[in-house]
């Protein structure tokens, strides 16, 4: 890989990651949000491939394929199926309006840059420049978990958070050992499938999937 192409590819993939996350905070359509999640999966796979080729990791192709299959195909498909099954394709009103959501999202992104700067210092490497995107994704995922009321969006928020962690992982240390990487992907896949099943059951039992209405258990 030529030396000019590497920073460009890193910038392209991480830029795509951040853009999709912000668009998810903006939008109200669940179907589009799931589509953006699939795009995030593709960008993450591209990032894995770029970093892997740059450091000459032989397993990178395999990990990238794994990320592509799990995050860009299987998970979005399963979530789309759950959403269609319960007939929920649009988000209910969130706890705050869109303008506030976007302003906070911008503030969180800046926070991510500040935090990363103090953690890693100002690196000269293209990868080090892109690490804040991972932290921004983590915070944006949290933000969606906090303000959205539909159980399906909670799932999306969790996956954005997970994509952010994966981004940090690949950019800072080239990922964890393959066994751990496989196990972690499998875990995330299973958690999302379980939550998908619970969402469908919730629709059957409660007649809605609004998690702010889940308050029967309290002290």
């Amino acid at each position: 890989m030529t030396s000019e192409l590497y920073p460009q590819l890193i910038a392209l993939t991480t830029g795509l990651l951040l853009l999709t996350a912000v668009l998810q905070v903006w939008g109200r359509s669940l179907v589009r949000s799931i589509g953006l999640l699939a795009a995030q999966g593709v960008a993450l796979a591209g990032l894995v491939l770029t970093v892997g080729f740059h450091v000459g990791e032989p397993g990178a192709l395999f990990v990238a394929a794994l990320v592509l299959v799990v995050k860009a195909i299987v998970l979005p498909w399963a979530m789309l199926r759950s959403a269609r099954l319960i007939g929920e394709t649009r988000e209910r009103a969130a706890l705050v309006n869109t303008a506030v959501e976007l302003i906070v999202a911008a503030a969180l992104t800046m926070l991510a840059y500040v935090v990363t700067g103090s953690l890693f210092g100002i690196g000269s490497d293209a990868a080090a420049h892109a690490v804040p995107v991972g932290f921004a994704l983590v915070l944006l995922g949290f933000w969606q978990l906090l303000i959205r009321r539909s159980a399906v969006t909670q799932l999306i928020g969790f996956l954005v958070l997970d994509n952010g962690i994966a981004t940090v992982s690949f950019l800072t240390s080239g990922g964890l050992p393959l066994t751990v990487e496989l196990g972690a992907s499998l875990d995330v896949l299973l958690v999302v499938l379980i939550l998908g099943v619970l969402v469908v059951r919730m629709q059957a039992v409660h007649g809605h999937v609004d998690i702010s209405e889940l308050k029967e258990l309290h002290d």
């Binding site: 953690l119 978990l145 159980a151 196990g183 972690a184």
Partner: protein, 524 residues
């Protein structure tokens, strides 16, 4: 030697396959009990083997059993035996529709236990407990906890902890209905998000190790090269990892899922989750604390754990006094005991860590026995509410006796082992200069004591609120119909309580405990 590790990991998987394959046979519910017994035997064997010839590693270093891992295997095995044997050996007697068995005297004529009542009271096996997939999930849950304690790679520990959430999700939801669905949803979302934060911490730990050459998250290697770790990254990594795993360990302020999940799950599952899953998550915190302490000094972890421990005690103290549900009461008591463990880990030093490790075993045995008894009280009374259970010592002494004794152990009465470990943790705290935190902890423990004692006494010897005359009336004419035929105390519960009494005086444990404490310091 390494074959034991593989045996302990693969046998539960095999038993899970068998129970799923034979899903409709009633005896499949005994397969998890077999898995638990094997785990206990294997754990004791590994304690012995590690004591003879040092740590065992296999799978190119991914799995490694040192004295601490072996001790944790024994804890998991022992608690699982109590929770599963006691919990699965439960033939449910449905509540007779005619009356509530606890307060029947005013409505029923003496001797009115009719044939229909008899039929309704005949033990039937709970359909949930008898199903093969329930048994299979329990076996997988055991395998996941085993993997968490035998893994050397912190990433693999993370995978195993996440697997415990996955395997228990449907176990929590297995009773159906709105409440258990809500509990399961909160449990999985909070558990998964919390543990994801821990994964971010592990990622940063891997980045911090780049300064010492190759990136690694192997616990042994990280501890060996702890002084070469990037200090800023190591601090952030340790804080995030502890924050994440504290969610799973039920430490405040990340505890909100715990009372819901532990009170809604069926008895064997609550027993396992409260008795040992929390401790397994806390074990991972101990491992991470060892690395960050070696890398950046003990102040960071001590501060975090002190805050979490005191907050957990405060949350419990605030909520036990007014608690209306006895299963939630037990769940909050688990938060209290996790807070104590956090205080012990914050104090540090051989005495505190030994007390923490012994407390895991003592608390686990008692708590799982208590959840089993609470499950039977629930079957008998048909209600979660403290107010619906009165005068249990006269009505069902076989349940009230262990419930009283177990509560005494949870509250830290001598001669139970929890007394010695709690004193050990507090003394170690005073010795390491944590005077004020430990004094606050003592005050909070007193409030918890009052709250739990009040509810337990009202359940076992209290008089029903609406029937002020019940006791005088029955004293004149004992209402035999209200009292079930005498039943013996279930064997696993008796064993658990006996073990908790004996453990405090069991000097042979000193060797393994000292070795486990030394292992945490990196000693071979």
């Amino acid at each position: 030697m390494a074959v034991w590790i593989w045996l302990l990991l693969l046998l539960p998987l095999f038993l899970a396959g068998v129970s799923y394959g034979l899903r409709r046979s009633a005896w499949t519910r005994w397969l998890p009990v077999i898995a638990a017994v094997l785990l206990l035997v294997g754990g004791i064997t590994l304690v012995w083997l590690v004591g003879l010839s040092g740590p065992v590693a296999t799978a190119s270093g991914l799995l490694r059993v040192d004295a601490l891992s072996a001790w944790m295997l024994v804890v998991v095995g022992a608690v699982a035996v109590v929770a599963l044997w006691g919990g699965m050996d439960r033939s449910v007697s449905p509540v007779p529709p005619s009356s509530n068995p606890v307060q029947p005297s005013s409505r029923r004529r003496p001797g009115s236990l009719s044939a229909t009542d008899g039929a309704a009271l005949r033990p039937t096996t709970d359909p949930i407990l008898a199903s093969g997939s329930f048994a299979a999930l329990l076996c997988l849950f055991l395998a996941a906890m085993t993997l968490a304690v035998v893994a050397d790679n912190i990433g693999l520990m993370w995978v195993a902890i996440e697997l415990t959430t996955i395997t228990t999700a449907f176990l929590v939801a297995s009773q159906g209905g709105r409440d258990s669905l809500e509990a399961a949803w909160k449990y999985v979302v909070l558990g998964a998000v919390g543990v994801a934060i821990a994964f971010l911490g592990i990622t940063l730990l891997s980045a911090a190790s780049l300064t010492s050459g190759e990136a690694t998250v192997s616990w042994v290697l990280l501890l060996q090269h702890a002084d070469a770790l990037d200090p800023t990254l190591a601090k952030a990594a340790g804080a995030l990892a502890v924050l994440g795993f504290a969610t799973k360990a039920g430490l405040a302020p990340m505890h909100s899922w715990l009372p819901d999940a532990h009170s809604q799950a069926p008895a064997p599952v609550s027993g396992l989750m409260s008795g040992v899953l929390l401790s397994v998550a806390f074990y991972v915190i101990l491992r991470i604390q060892a690395i960050t302490d070696a890398a950046v000094g003990p102040e960071l972890m001590r501060g975090l754990l002190l805050v979490a421990g005191l907050l957990s005690l405060a949350v419990t103290a605030g909520l036990v006094l007014t608690q209306r549900d006895y299963k939630r009461l037990l769940a909050y008591s688990s938060i209290e005991h996790m807070g104590l463990l956090a205080l012990g880990a914050a104090a540090g030093g051989p005495l505190a860590i030994a007390a923490v490790l012994l407390h895991m075993l003592g608390h686990g045995l008692v708590k799982s026995a208590m959840f089993v008894v609470a499950g039977r009280i629930l079957d008998y009374v048909g209600s979660h509410r403290v107010a619906d259970v009165r005068n249990l010592l006269r009505l069902r002494p076989d349940l009230a006796g262990p419930f009283l004794l177990g509560s005494a152990a949870l509250l830290g009465f001598p001669p139970f082992v929890t007394f010695f470990t709690e004193v050990g943790i507090l003394v170690a705290g005073f010795q390491s200069g944590l005077l004020w935190p430990m004094l606050i902890a003592c005050a909070l423990l007193l409030i918890v004591f009052a709250g739990i004692a009040r509810h337990v006494l009202s359940m076992t010897v209290g008089v029903p609120a609406g029937h002020p005359q019940t006791v005088p009336v029955t004293r004149r004419a004992p209402d035999t119909s209200a009292i079930s035929p005498p039943q013996r105390i279930s064997l696993p519960i008796a064993l658990a309580l006996t073990a908790t009494t004996v453990l405090g005086f069991a000097w042979p444990l000193l060797g393994p405990l000292t070795a486990a404490v030394a292992a945490l310091g990196g000693a071979q």
